[in-house]
Amino acid sequence: MKEVVVLSGKGGTGKTTIVGSLAALAERKVLADCDVDAADLYLLLSPAQKQTNEFWSGQVAHIDADKCNECGLCQDLCRFDAIHEFRVEEVSCEGCGLCSQVCPTEAISMKETMAGHWYISDTRYGPLVHARLGIAQENSGKLVAVVRQEAKRLAQEHALDYIISDGPPGIGCPVISSLSGAGLALLVTEPSLSGMHDLDRVLGVCRHFGVPAAVCINKYDLNEENTGRIEGQCLSQGVELVGRVPFDNVVTESIVQGVPVVEYSDGKVAREIRQMWRRLAVMLANGTNKK
């Protein structure tokens, strides 16, 4: 079983568009939406939700006003500036529990938080594991880990060949959680200076965690000079360029219709993505993934 995670560094470069299309193209796979902050993949796959699970993770402090003698020790010691006027600001509390340990009147207790939900759904492309982190919650990395673990379990149970994950933007906690131990990272970028700058950072994260990477340049014709520079960089860094997808409003139209673009149209965008999947499948078969 081979796991491909689609990342980008910069947001809005087309990760979900690409994953939706790979969902339609790859055989025998589980889909995983690891962007638990802003999960959009389900909008392309018309899932039927089969299972909903609560995600309990982390704690927040709670001060019992009746027991509090307003000594202020908790406020002085809190490194997260989460206690003001003897009240806990829940969104700032990182759940370390120091305040509850030191409170001389035992007025502070730690409460478990329900930090979100995760789901298993059926789609006509195969099973989808997705999640929704509660608003303003922490622990997105842990929820991503749950999504990946469930996707892996399903893939093993049904002897499927691929796990295809839609990753979050950025390079921080949920990205690291999506990436570590994956077989291949497909990095979707765009030929803007911002996109290139962000690609460089996410490539650094792939190297840091020893995950091989391949690059897809989306909307490559928006700035062909920059596209050339990305291609040059890929070549010099030994990173395979697997796709060049042109800009086309047909992508937005397919999102509005709620279907993967390769099923919506048979134009240049769809042809490029099909070709890219063939290249990726070869890369995966040639053993970028030893698992």
Binding site: K10, D37, L43, C96, L133, P169
Partner: protein
């Protein structure tokens, strides 16, 4: 006044709006732009700032003096992040997991734990013309953005206008970047993805009690879902930017919208005027 520019979904135009708003205002007043998208900071691409200073951002992590340690296990027991373990006669800190809360060092009965800084990123400051820029950069391979964001925000100078470029999403880094703002602009695009993530972003700012309005970018393709939602939820749409290849090309070359198309400057000044009205109205009604 602090105005943050956020979005839920990535790539909707936060950086475009934040840089053009800040540049437009900087012609005749004191403005600071804080790039709090510390995982992928890009404002510098559009501002080409002269960087005049920087400082390391560190988390205090435990250092155990094994000579005074009795291996009682208290540190491991109080650590909420499993960032320190006691195995027989060994104490093993895991600095990557440490949030720097200080519980282990404070609660160690033998005072055997001191703290040492572990660098997770850097904050840099400088200016581009009259516009001040502060940006944070999370080090590659590091997971925790909030400490870097906190340091960027510590550089805010409330004497003038402060514009904050927020990372995408709705979780802890976003909250860290947005909180204490007087107003939050939510940049989105007219697609089902844009709508889905806008609704989440609105929930986030509502939870923080911050007034918000929408900037709708790339209008021309897509659908009417976002506009309908804004009407129903009574969220004002203060600016629309069309899907325009010229704008996309300027962006791709790292040229701020108001630098490449100066006719947009008045739209951004008007946008800031509307924001000021809303914030003033709100503070008047809360005083009543």
């Amino acid at each position: 006044m602090i105005v943050s520019v956020a979005s839920g979904k990535g790539g909707t135009g936060k950086t475009l709006v934040a840089t053009s708003l800040a540049l437009s205002l900087s012609d005749d007043r004191k403005v600071q732009l804080l790039d709090c998208d510390v995982e992928e900071p890009n404002d510098h691409v559009f501002l080409q700032p002269e960087i005049t200073g920087s400082k390391a951002v560190s988390i205090p992590v435990p250092r155990v003096d094994e000579a005074s340690c009795t291996y009682c296990g208290k540190c491991a027991q109080v650590c909420a992040y499993n960032a320190i373990a006691v195995l027989g006669n060994h104490v093993l800190p895991f600095p990557q997991l440490c949030h720097g809360c200080g519980a282990c060092s404070y609660l160690c009965p033998e005072k055997a734990i001191t703290e040492e800084p572990r660098q997770v990123g850097v904050v840099e400051w400088g200016h581009s013309g009259a516009l001040g820029l502060v940006q944070g950069k999370l080090a590659v391979g590091e997971a925790m953005a909030p400490p870097v964001i906190r340091e960027v925000k510590r550089c805010a100078n409330r004497d003038g206008a402060v514009i904050i470029d927020v990372p995408p999403g709705t979780s802890c880094p976003v909250v860290e970047a947005i909180k204490d703002s007087d107003f939050c602009l939510l940049v989105t695009e007219p697609t089902p993805f844009g709508l889905n993530d806008l609704v989440l972003a609105v929930e986030t700012v509502t939870k923080l009690g911050i007034p918000c309005a929408v900037v709708l970018n790339r209008v021309g393709v897509g659908d009417l879902g976002v506009e309908e939602y804004c009407r129903q939820a009574r969220i004002p749409v203060l600016l629309t930017i069309p899907l325009d290849m010229e704008i996309a090309r300027l962006y791709s070359r790292g040229i701020a919208l108001v630098a490449g198309m100066p006719q947009w400057r008045s739209s951004f000044l008007e946008l800031f005027g509307r924001i000021t009205e809303i914030v003033d109205e709100r503070s008047r009604s809360s005083k009543r």
